[in-house]
């Protein structure tokens, strides 16, 4: 009895393992060869007139909506340019970054080693981006980050092959810090963010610019990252601090909860809420609804920008996708734009050649976000003070003021 049971079960486990194993082998085998070459092998379409791009974006998990916007931005640019960058045929390989490095880093390795791409573009998560730098650049390829905001990516010890078309966390908030320092806020400003690196950098950027302008910090708090749904305990701290305004850094689900609760606990009326632009960007704004009206944020883009490039961009983007673009779409759209020019200028897709070309692009005049240039390897761009306002059935980030140009703070 026991005997026969164990044999049967053993058999069934083997057969299942067999099936899965076969599937795995099939998936792993393509591209046989040797793994013992030198560190940087020349790879795929080097001189061949075509260019292969690895677009690493989150397709699953909490960041997936950003991934959708990024991919749409990328595809829109390619569609507008016959699927060519720098007059080379483009093959895009999309890889799922997932929610973090445990899936993101293998995705980067996969596009590099298996698909042999020439350039890696995208990446939402800062940890993935920082982990990708080694992998991409040691293969001699160019990395164009189109979202992740970690300061170190383009900071002092930056890798020469890593460029960014989005922002640095501290950069976005320094624009607001600079602005609020000029306002009359006798009670000071209260700072709050999740206790993770991006939050820390954002608060740091704000604090530095704000204090440099003579502002006073009324208090600070860090909320547990990813597990805080109820902000009441922290809101109580803001209220009792006597602050005249609050600066916060939240994104995604936390942005929705924070903004809604900031309103329902009655703080919005008495202590105006300011934040980095991601607080009210994209899908979260719809979810926040009326609670978000009056919230002011700084960002380098909003659909409400009035320039011809943006109008055209919004028209074709909305026509293609049935939805309005977000800052994430623009950043990846611009990544394609700068690659287009750099490849054309360099006539090569090797990392160093491309990097050199990127450095000499000058001002990008026709970006939906307005003119911007690379300063270091990160954009120097205009920041806008935006306020959430009701428009028809929905809500938009209306431009209130032009805060001036900012680069990544040193």
């Amino acid at each position: 009895m026991t005997e026969s049971r164990s044999t049967r079960i053993l058999f069934s486990r083997r057969s299942v393992l067999g099936m899965l194993g076969t599937a795995g082998v099939v998936a792993a085998v393509p591209g046989c060869g040797s793994s013992l070459g030198g560190g940087g092998d020349a790879g795929g379409g080097g001189q061949g007139g075509a260019v292969k791009v690895g677009l690493v974006i989150p397709q699953a998990g909490v960041y997936a909506p950003l991934g959708v916007d990024m991919q749409r931005g990328w595809e829109l640019y390619l569609n507008q340019h016959d699927g060519r960058l720098g007059d080379r045929e483009v093959t895009t390989v999309v890889a799922d970054e997932g929610e973090g490095p445990e899936s993101g880093v293998p995705a980067v390795q996969r596009v590099l080693q298996r698909d042999r791409v020439d350039v890696v573009v995208g990446i939402v998560n800062s940890a993935v981006a920082l982990g990708a730098v080694d992998a991409v650049t040691s293969a001699g390829k160019l990395l164009v980050v189109s979202n992740a905001g970690a300061g170190a990516l383009t900071g002092e010890n930056r890798n020469p092959l890593t460029w960014r078309t989005s922002f640095a966390n501290a950069q976005v908030s320094s624009a607001l810090g600079d602005h609020l320092a000029g306002q009359n806020l006798p009670g000071g400003v209260y700072l709050i963010a999740p206790d993770y690196a991006a939050g820390e950098e954002a608060l740091g950027g704000f604090r530095e610019a704000f204090e440099a302008g003579g502002g006073r910090i009324a208090g600070e708090a860090r909320t547990p990252f990813g597990t805080t749904q109820d902000f009441q305990p922290f809101l109580a701290g803001i209220r009792s601090s006597g602050a005249a305004a609050t600066f916060c850094f939240y994104a995604g689900g936390e942005a929705v909860s924070f903004v809604q609760q900031y309103d329902s606990f009655g703080l919005k009326q008495t202590i105006p809420l300011f934040g980095s632009g991601f607080l009210t960007e994209g899908g979260v704004l719809d979810a926040q609804g009326a609670a978000a009206t009056g919230v002011q944020t700084s960002l380098h883009y909003t659909t409400e920008l009035d320039n011809p490039a943006n109008t055209a961009f919004i028209d074709s983007y909305t026509a293609a996708n049935g939805a309005a673009p977000t800052v994430y779409s623009v950043q990846t759209y611009d990544a394609a734009a700068v690659l287009d020019r750099a490849i054309g200028q360099a006539g090569d897709v090797a990392g160093t050649a491309l990097s050199e070309a990127m450095g000499s692009l000058g001002t990008i005049e026709d970006s939906p976000r307005g003119p911007w240039t690379f300063d270091g390897q990160n954009p120097r761009q205009t920041y806008y003070l935006r306020e959430v306002r009701r428009q028809g059935q929905g809500y938009v980030n209306a431009v209130v003021a032009d805060l001036g140009e900012f680069a990544q703070p040193a």
Partner: protein, 339 residues
């Protein structure tokens, strides 16, 4: 099926002892596997080799967890904590002290073991679902520490820019050499687990798994043995972590989070708990499903993973049954009692 550890000591009168040739036969697949794995970089493309290295790292983690789950009967949901501690320790030492080869590995083992000892002394006092919960809590607290302790761990950005390990001053500069390093570390860690499982101490661990009250009646004090097993498993997980740091060159809080721990458990159950080699196969399946099949599913990898979880529990009860968590002494036996 548990390996018959005391077979070596069989007296001549016994009948069921495996003869030496069979023992050789049993060692043969193992040796062949190692040779095959060592030869892999010669004929596999870089990405396949990288995947293989990643499997090896995860396999060692799963095997070390099996020492707890399958052999000692302690189902831990927080084992990734020691994996992560080892990875951070190895990564930090590589960056700040030296990438010279045995040092990061030893650091991983030492820190993994110390972390396991620091948390195990109270964790192994509890049993059953309380042990599950306590290890879950430990795992979450350690993850939180990794996320908050910016100056050492790099916070949520992780510890990045970890140098390649170097042998005699020369960095292991390509995928193949790195694979051999990972393979060597994994074989070493696995050999330790194997030796422990086949030792008199390992027999005690199995006794605790099968029937802890009876062990007390025999004069054993299970606490010390369980704690020792916990520390050894933590230490080997730390070695796996050190290999991760070398292979991925990045360590982040998610490496020691619940997802990693749950996947390691899945690997153990798929492969068959208590066998050590089974969980290694399970790890291969998990990594391949996640990395190779997952991305082709439009970002619905978790769906596939969920289906695998469910299927494994129903279709592979033997793997799971090998766990034999202590559900009252001799439950199975009393059910079979003749009436």
């Amino acid at each position: 099926m548990t390996p018959r550890t005391t077979a070596d000591a069989a007296p001549p009168s016994a009948t069921a002892a495996p003869e030496p040739p069979r023992r050789l036969l049993r060692a043969a697949p193992m040796a062949a596997t190692v040779v095959l794995l060592a030869a892999a970089p010669l004929f596999l493309a870089p990405y396949a080799t990288t995947t293989l290295s990643r499997i090896l790292v995860f396999a060692l983690l799963a095997a070390s967890l099996d020492l707890l789950v399958g052999i000692t009967g302690l189902p831990s949901l927080g084992h990734a904590a020691y994996f992560g501690v080892g990875a951070y320790a190895a990564g930090w030492i590589t960056i700040h002290l030296t990438p010279a080869v045995p040092v990061p590995l030893l650091a991983g083992a030492a820190f993994g073991g110390v972390a396991a000892a620091a948390t195990g002394w109270f964790a192994v006092r509890s049993a059953g679902v309380f042990f599950l919960m306590l290890t879950l809590a430990i795992g979450e607290i350690v993850r939180q520490v990794a996320q908050s302790w910016d100056s050492v761990t790099g916070g949520s950005n992780g510890l990045y820019g970890i140098d390649l390990p170097s042998v005699a001053g020369a960095p292991l500069g390509n995928v193949g050499l790195l694979h051999w390093y990972v393979l060597a570390g994994a074989v070493l860690g696995y050999a330790v687990l194997r030796a422990v499982a086949a030792s008199p101490f390992g027999a005690v661990l199995r006794g605790i798994r099968d029937n802890e009250p009876r062990m007390r009646a025999l004069g054993y004090r299970p606490y010390g043995y369980k704690l020792a097993a916990f520390v050894i498993a933590g230490s080997v997980a730390g070695v796996a972590g050190a290999l991760l740091a070398a292979q991925q060159r990045l360590v982040t809080p998610s490496d020691l989070g619940f997802t990693t721990a749950a996947l390691a458990l899945l690997a153990v159950v798929i492969g068959g708990a208590g066998t050590l080699w089974g969980p290694c196969l399970g790890a291969a399946v998990v990594v391949l499903v996640r990395d190779a099949l997952g991305p082709t599913l439009d970002g619905h990898g978790p769906l596939l993973l969920g289906v695998v979880f469910i299927a494994v529990v129903y279709l592979l009860p033997r793997g799971a049954a090998g766990v034999r968590l202590r559900r009252g002494p001799g439950r199975e036996q009393s059910e079979q009692e003749p009436t």
